[in-house]
């Protein structure tokens, strides 16, 4: 457990993060945590990306959860891979802890059939309401509600 200056808890849970995602083309170390989108019934890796405006779900995950043809709004967003058309949808993503408590985040995500990469957790609509810290020596990701 980490504590804030006033001795109140900083986090409710912690999980081991990984520096890479096997099979993914990232050349440098990143932060991959585990999440469960909606009621997928499994954990998946998601890259923490504070520079991303929105959380983006891997396309097959979005499809499995019925989000590609959901009731949200269509938008075209600028991503690291260019301008992509898709939809903004509201769903729940659980940030999974290995110890302590996980967090259910009712969040807006971007889903698209044109998206060819994995799942990214963006700042807007997700990370902006989460306190988080990393210990790069032990590869722990600490988190709590912001």
């Amino acid at each position: 457990m980490l504590f804030r200056q006033d001795r109140t808890p900083f986090n409710v849970g912690r999980a081991r993060f990984f520096d890479d995602s096997p099979g993914a083309p990232e050349a440098t170390a990143k932060i991959y945590v585990r999440v469960e989108p909606q009621a997928l019934g499994a954990s998946i890796a998601a890259q923490v990306d504070t520079g991303a405006a929105w959380t983006i779900l891997e396309t097959e995950v979005a499809e499995a959860l019925g989000l590609l043809d959901g009731a949200g709004e269509s938008v075209r967003l600028r991503t690291r891979y260019g301008l992509i058309g898709g939809r903004l949808e509201r769903t729940t993503i659980t940030l999974l802890a290995d110890e302590g408590e996980s967090l259910d985040v009712d969040a807006t995500v971007f889903v698209s059939r044109e998206w060819l990469a994995g799942t990214f957790l963006g700042y807007g609509g997700f990370l902006q309401r989460i306190r988080f810290a990393i210990d790069p020596e032990e590869n722990f990701f600490y988190f709590g509600a912001g």
């Binding site: 849970g13 099979g23 499994a42 891997e58 949200g72 709004e73 967003l77 259910d104």
Partner: protein, 126 residues
């Protein structure tokens, strides 16, 4: 409702208003988009499309959950050792072992329904 307007006119006016909201979102000016929604004319406040945008642009809500995952170092070790054998496929791993593999996530989930892994780690190997 303006004098002489019918429901179709209101929807058209809402569409124009929300078109501006969409443009702001696409330019990553989400705070400005929220302000524009907050300033919507009173007669548009109950429009389904506006309510949808309000929901989408609402800040995330965070609550604690008791469900946990397990430390997946053994699963990652398996991926590093065997991942190249399953390139292009989805794999499900649990307890450091391969539980199922399939060419699509949908097919993988079907296979997992008949298996014993209660909460596997699933991964696509590009």
């Amino acid at each position: 409702m303006n004098r002489g307007e019918n429901a179709g006119d209101i929807r058209a006016r809402a569409a124009r208003y929300l078109g501006e909201v969409r443009e702001l979102v696409e330019r990553e000016q989400v705070t400005e988009a929220r302000k524009l929604l907050d300033a919507a004319p009173p007669d548009l406040l109950d429009e389904p499309s506006l309510l949808r945008w309000r929901s989408l642009l609402a800040p995330p809500r965070v609550t604690t959950a008791q469900r946990r995952d397990t430390d997946r170092r053994r699963e990652y070790a398996w991926l590093r050792t065997h991942g190249s054998e399953y390139r292009g496929q989805w794999v499900a791993l649990d307890d450091g072992r391969l539980v199922a593999a399939a060419s699509s996530l949908q097919e993988l989930r079907e296979r997992l329904k008949h298996g014993s892994a209660s909460f596997p780690f699933v991964h696509h190997l590009s």
